[in-house]
Amino acid sequence: MIRYIFTRIGYMIITLFIIILLSFLLMKALPGSPFNDERLPETQKELLYKKYGLDKPVPIQFGIYLTNLVQGDLGISFVLDNRPVTKIIQERIGASAILGFQAVTVGTLIGLLLGIVAALRHNTVIDYGATVLAVLGISIPSFVFAGFLQYWVGVKLGWLPIAFWNGFEYSILPTIALAVGVVATIARFTRIEMLEVLNQEYILTARSKGLSNSVIITKHGIRNALIPIITIIGPLTVNTITGSLVIEKIFSIPGLGEQFVNSIITNDYQLIMGTTIFYAVLFVSVILVIDILYGFIDPRIRVIGGE
């Protein structure tokens, strides 16, 4: 098992390196620079380039960047008053993480429940209802839903705040808006997996033992259906966290997503790279965690990995 985890981490590092290299080159290929202000004289610009090392050839710049990165230094922002990128990410990640975590947890739980109920009541009104909800959840963009929530729950009913980030009640509406997509995806997937599992022969074996339906579903059904679902929860989590930028804008939440968009507009190289790397690390770590979790749920994988 330990060897298995180490090889996975090895692959992770290779993946990260490729991501860093590609995003670095792509960023450099973009037109423009952080110091595009027309009021800035050429000589001043050159001085700035020299100061930040932007006059050197691209491979050397990349080398310097990597060396700093290994030491945990993501550089300083060119635009935001020379503040360290790590600091900026630290400040901004809190809101995004809370929002993402809440949305994924709530969404997954509701999605699982909806999917299981739909599968158990296969081809009944409940099943069709759940399927319609899931399709709506996937096809309606989250910002439409966000606006709807702000208008009805926030403005008309006045139950919850519609903007800013000052405590738990501020996070409820954006969490719901963000969770809708998660619920829909998980519910659809769970329903299919559950139906598949319920048709397996071991379910029949369990029934022939005289077990009650609830035991059959929880002990024999859900656990087997969970295995493939876990695979999509990983990327879904990262997607939700990184994809929250629209919601963050709508609800004026000072999150990382909003910052990321701004940094691209201003060509803030260091901040773009820093955020990209942060997202990449997040992504591969989640996948690693899922892989390890997998081993605990599915004994077949555990043994192959261990031997």
Partner: protein
């Protein structure tokens, strides 16, 4: 004997998109204490549905109970409350399913899967349950029970898993076990072990067993009584000897005649014509009449009642009516006809073999340190026009051999010559194509080997296209091929899902024949088919051999069919051919211990023989522990080669010189 279960006038239908399928139609039978009742029938005969309804396990949404009662302990299983049926399931009546690979939950240890029903139905708790699980594992022959009960299903082989399934079924000491094709998915020697295990446990616990199967050999070995089902009905029921030696219904007779009989040499197998009826609209009268070319007029008009043959033997055929004409049963007719014209064994040109394998090795690298030696140095020839049978258990390398011959793998070592040319030397696309044209393959599963989105005509035409047959000739060629395999040209415009298993296998053969090959590799071509359909396909393959001078490599695990069809047989064990001889020679004088064990493990469709037979057990551990470095493939009798070490060879020579005084 005490009656323990009674099924009365059971009729069950299924709601499907196409309408109501009448799966079980008015079935009645009794089950007595301590007996084994075998229910025999082809797929779709209603045998599984009947057995599942004994525990009410058919899917609730689509099942319609039309009529009938199942009485157990004065309770009607079909109408009792959910609570009551759950108390019976697993505790009083339990079930063993066909495929041990899917019948166990992959994410639960086998110990806790066995413990589940103990927890549910008994008062045992904690350590007592663990002890009981150990006891059960020992009972079904799983060693080191204390270690193994914590393991997961994937850590066991197929035979072991079936033992676990049996342990689960026995957990609460039930009175009835329903075994639904419990050995169909297993190799013959494992099958023999499992059947013997079931028999022993039955004796120990005075169990009643309902044994569902389509294999008449297994029936002869296991059953006290037999019920034959056809088109949702029991058409004949009686003691095992009555059914095997005095069967009355033409369908039962046909089934028995379709089995290759080791004693009677026949040129063609008897094949029941046609396919079973569609139970969306069950036929009027005797359901089998349409496939019976001696059917009486009344067979098409009125359903025959159960006529009494003896106190224990009943059959539903109008032939038993006092006004019925006397007919000679099909199997006896056959025996008479065959005695008249028996062909001489064909003679092959042995100087120029069509296919030669020289020290062929096919190793697969699993990871850094492990190599799977799927095929490990095999040498044999196949002569032009011959049918060469290759038998062995799953994993012995027989399918890999077939794949190597058609060039799906790059050989690790050795040479394969087809028609005098080395396939290793075929490098360019053209050369490879030329080989492919000569060698074609027929696959095991007629359901997955045809592309479901292509019409039959297009499936057959693919081969024509690759090998450059002009498009204008396709249609005529396709019709001709369909005709050869016994289908009408209307089939050209159908899709695979509209065809039955036997028809699909015919398409598989037509597709292979499209390029006019000389050698056909048939990889278990009949094992997915029903008995009566198997005979049709085997006859077709034999007919093609004669008419088109085809050469076959026939890969199979069903040894009785292989013996029937093959001229010579090679027995494979662990990647090597351990014995090779003409089929009679091999069956009459097996020499290698593995061959002996394999042959003795095949259940014969003859209950009297089965009772007398002793199974020879192959001691695998001992065999593999002996030093086999000196082993060589030696011709011990004319044309009969065996893989023996020097020591074994001297031993063999000694025994033989003693027993055959010259």
């Amino acid at each position: 004997m005490k009656k323990i279960l009674e099924v009365k006038n059971l009729s069950i239908s299924f709601n499907t998109q196409n309408g109501e399928v009448q799966a079980v139609r008015n079935v009645s039978f009794d089950l007595f204490e301590g007996e084994t009742l075998a229910i025999v029938g082809e797929s779709g005969s209603g045998k599984s549905v009947t057995s599942k309804s004994l525990l009410r396990l058919n899917p609730a949404e689509t099942t319609m109970l039309k009529n009938g009662q199942i009485l157990y302990n004065e309770k009607n299983i079909l109408t009792c409350r959910e609570q009551e049926i759950r108390a019976i399931r697993g505790a009083e009546i339990s079930m063993i399913f066909q495929d041990p690979m899917t019948a166990l939950n992959p994410t639960m240890t086998i110990g806790s899967q066995i413990a589940e029903s103990i927890k549910k139905h008994s008062t045992l708790r904690g350590n007592q349950i663990t002890e009981r699980v150990h006891e059960l594992l020992q009972l079904v022959g799983i060693k080191e029970a204390d270690k193994r009960y914590k393991q997961y299903p994937h850590q066991f082989s197929g035979g072991m898993r079936q033992r676990i399934v049996i342990a689960m079924a026995l957990a609460c000491e039930p009175r009835i076990i329903i075994a639904d094709e419990p050995t169909t998915a297993l190799d013959v020697s494992i099958q023999a072990q499992i059947l013997e295990l079931l028999k022993n446990i039955q004796k120990k616990m005075n169990l009643s067993i309902i044994f569902i199967t389509h294999d008449l050999g297994v029936v002869a070995k296991m059953a006290d009584r037999v019920a034959v089902m056809y088109a949702g009905k029991i058409i004949e029921i009686g003691l095992v000897d009555e059914i095997f030696y005095h069967c009355q219904h033409p369908y039962t007779q046909g089934l028995l005649a379709a089995m290759p009989n080791p004693d009677i040499e026949t040129n063609t197998l008897y094949a029941i014509p046609g396919t079973p009826p569609n139970l969306l609209q069950p036929p009027i009268g005797d359901a089998f009449a349409a496939r019976n070319n001696q059917a009486l007029k009344i067979d098409f008009l009125e359903e025959p009642p159960m006529f009494k043959v003896s106190d224990t033997h009943y059959a539903a055929t109008w032939l038993l009516h006092e006004q019925a004409p006397k007919m000679i049963p099909i199997h006896q007719q056959l025996a008479q006809a065959e005695r008249k014209e028996r062909e001489k064994a064909p003679v092959f040109d042995t100087t120029k073999p069509y296919l030669t394998l020289q020290g062929v090795k096919q190793h697969f690298k699993l990871d850094k340190n492990a190599i799977n030696k799927a095929v490990d140095g095999i040498t044999f020839d196949i002569y032009k026009g011959e049918i060469f049978g290759l038998v062995g258990e799953s994993g012995c390398g027989k399918s890999t051999t077939g794949r190597s011959i058609i060039g799906l793998n790059i050989l690790t070592d050795g040479d394969i010559h087809i028609d005098g040319r080395n396939i290793n030397e075929a490098k360019t696309k053209q050369e490879k194509l030329a080989f492919n044209r000569k060698v074609q393959m027929i696959f095991q599963d007629p359901y997955s080997s045809l592309n479901p989105r292509m019409k039959i005509a297009d499936i057959i035409a693919e081969g024509l296209a690759i090998h450059g047959v002009p498009k204008s000739e396709w249609r005529a060629k396709i019709y001709e091929l369909l005709n050869i395999v016994g289908l009408t040209k209307e089939y050209a415009n159908r899709y695979p899902h509209e065809l039955s298993g036997g028809q699909r296998q015919r398409i598989g053969i037509a597709r292979a024949l499209a390029v006019e090959p000389e050698l056909i590799i048939a990889d278990e071509p009949i094992s997915a088919l029903d008995v009566s359909i198997q005979a049709q396909i085997v006859n077709l393959l034999k007919k093609l051999q004669k008419e088109r001078e085809l050469t076959y490599l026939f890969i199979a695990h069903d040894l009785s069919m292989v013996k029937y069809i093959s001229n010579r047989i090679g027995v494979m064990y662990r990647g090597k051919i351990v014995e090779l001889a003409e089929s009679h020679e091999l069956y009459d004088h097996p020499i290698h211990p593995y061959t002996k064990a394999l042959l003795s493990a095949i259940p014969l469709p003859d209950p009297k023989l089965e009772r007398e037979r002793q199974r020879i057990i192959f001691n695998e551990a001992e065999y593999n522990a002996t030093n086999r470095e000196s082993e060589s493939f030696t011709e011990v009798r004319p044309g009969h080669f065996v893989m023996l070490t020097e020591e074994e060879l001297t031993q063999y020579d000694q025994v033989n010189s003693e027993s055959i005084p010259l």
